[in-house]
């Protein structure tokens, strides 16, 4: 078990290193010069050259990489040219907002895809099954970018049901930052009103992320549940006098969880990328928006950091999933030992 985890961590480190190398050189291949942006209009060549030197951009690429890699090993993600702060500090600042969106979306995804699958599987081929399929297909068919804007248009602009472009009502005082997770901070502050507000602000971005993933998620959960329905233990459970609901929640769900977990792990990768996109659409102040805005001015350290952080997240998630399989299904313990 420990050996397994050790091996996986080693693998994860290797993957991270590879990502660092690839993204670094990719970022240097694009002949972009953030210095010119910093210099601004009416700047002289001289000013631009000085800024370039300040950020070490005039050094040979390999030398730049050496410096970057040395820093990376020491946990230094470099400095953002745009915010003029250490990237690690920026990441620490923006990560909670991203994680909050990610976790809320993920939870919503799990709940929605499972509930819809359960609704659909009650009568396969029935009207509800069809409705669920249509609804989820619509969500997937629409590109995230457009979906986000459409949701904004309808629910903010037309209906005014949901607010826009922040994590909290702008004119109100947000609860003091303790965890950086606004929802949690609202609860810590003992302010349920603020919690509801924060929930409203996160609703549309999260929904945008989730709707896109729902079709695949629901279809896979539905298929997994449908497969379980055919299994003999279901008949046994019914034979004991369990109601269909008891059979579903007490027996089928846990069995279906393994394939669902596999799909979910893959979906999580998409989730991560959609969260980043949605941050840009909704001005959600997370690491995605941070990296995007940096990218626009060719400030690449944040972009590399984003790649590293999301890769790290993915590695951790996969490890978690592998550790979770035997918990869900006692038959697979052999894999990890």
């Amino acid at each position: 078990m420990a050996g397994f985890i050790g091996r996986r961590i080693l693998w994860g480190a290797l993957v991270l290193l590879l990502v660092a190398v690839i993204t670094f050189f990719l970022s240097r291949v694009v002949p972009a010069d953030p210095a010119a942006f910093l210099a601004g209009q009416n700047a002289s060549e001289e000013t631009v050259a000085r800024i370039r030197a300040e950020h070490g951009l005039d050094q040979p690429m390999l030398l730049q990489f050496r410096d970057y890699a040395t820093g990376l090993v020491q946990g230094d993600l470099g400095e953002s040219i745009r915010t003029r702060r250490p990237v690690a500090q920026d990441m620490a600042q923006f990560l909670p907002a991203t994680l909050e969106l990610l976790l809320v979306s993920f939870a919503a995804y799990l709940v929605l895809s499972l509930s819809l699958a359960i609704l659909a599987v009650r009568r396969p081929g029935g009207a509800m099954d069809g409705a669920v399929r249509l609804f989820t297909m619509l969500g997937t068919g629409i590109p995230v970018f457009w979906l986000g804007m459409a949701l904004q248009f309808v629910f903010y602009y037309k209906l005014q049901w949901f607010p826009l472009g922040a994590r909290f009502p702008i004119r109100e005082i947000a609860p003091p930052e303790v965890t950086g997770f606004l929802l949690v901070d609202c609860l810590i502050a003992g302010n349920p009103g603020a919690f509801v507000s924060a929930l409203q602000y996160i609703a549309l971005p999260a929904l945008t992320v989730v709707l896109n993933l729902l079709a695949v998620g629901t279809r896979m959960s539905r298929a997994a549940l449908l497969a379980e329905r055919e299994r003999l233990y279901v008949r046994t459970a019914r034979g004991k006098g369990l109601s269909p609901r008891q059979v579903l929640f007490g027996h089928m769900l846990r069995n279906a969880l393994s394939p669902i977990l596999t799909v979910t792990t893959i979906q999580f990768g998409y989730l991560l990328s959609w969260v980043i996109l949605v941050e840009v659409i909704f001005d959600w102040p997370g690491i995605g928006l941070y990296a995007f805005q940096s990218f626009q001015v060719f400030d690449y350290s944040p972009v590399i950091a984003l790649a590293l952080v999301s890769t790290f997240g993915f590695v951790v998630l996969n490890l978690l999933a592998d550790l979770l399989y035997p918990v869900i299904d006692p038959r697979v313990e052999a894999v990890t030992s």
Binding site: R235, T236, G239, K240, G241, Q246, R254, P330
Partner: protein
Amino acid sequence: MLEVENLTVSFSGRDGRAVAVDGISFSVAAGETFVIIGESGSGKSLTGMAIAGLAPEGARVGGAIRFDGQDVVGLPDARMRRVRGRQIGIVYQDPLGALNPVHTVGDQIAEALRVHGLARGREAMARAVSLLERVRIPDPARVARSYPHQISGGMRQRAVIAMAVACNPKLLIADEPTTALDVTIKAQVLDLLRDLKAELSLTTLLITHDMGVVAEVADRILVMYAGTVVEVGPAASLMDRPAHPYTSVLLASAMMAEAPPQTALTVVPGGTPPLGAMPEGCRFHPRCPRATARCRAEVPVLRGVGGGQAACHHPLVETPEDAL
């Protein structure tokens, strides 16, 4: 105690309605061991499941099944659930499949007690352990904590039996309980069923394709072929002097003791006709050595033959009318 009257189980398919159990009737008296025997596809398992209210989705059940005087056909599931598991216990063919792989054996037995409100929490688990003991599982506490894949096939079937009898049911439906087991285990399980029957004064409905099993336990036997009853009667007379050609072939195959059960039935040339393409007249006639033109045209009805009843135009035993 159990009366089945004109039971039909049918499925609607693309080519119309396929009738898998076609109007069978029988009754089981309290305390007896009633065996339904037939090849796979004969509708015997469907009959058993229909009685338990577990006919597969899409199946339409017709006729009447009176359990303790109450017709359970068309009974709302919520009411049937109080009967199932509580009054009727069921043992299944494939104990590995029948057990939920992600729950411990003990949990699954205890659940049967919990769902009927007979025990709760730790007490349910303690009773599960004693039930395991009752079905003669050594080290029952350990087995209760085990997952199905961690114990042997015989133990699994005993666990399934323990689950079936957990609530002291009146009727035990055992659907091919020994098919998946090897010979020695099979004998042990049959012994167990017989003992439990005595201990718990169970009425047993045993469903099997294996005449060898029948001989050991049956009080009365019903032979099914292609969804119909071909012969029914007391075990002794039926096995001694079968009236229907099909029954005699089944018996002959059982005589070849060494032959594994699967090959035994190949003695009867051909197989059960598919649901959608039932032959006219006697459904057995294409495989019957005694078939005549009458058999091809006219459906035989059950009538008294020998010690029981058979549906055959040319029975192997004289009918009471013939004797006259």
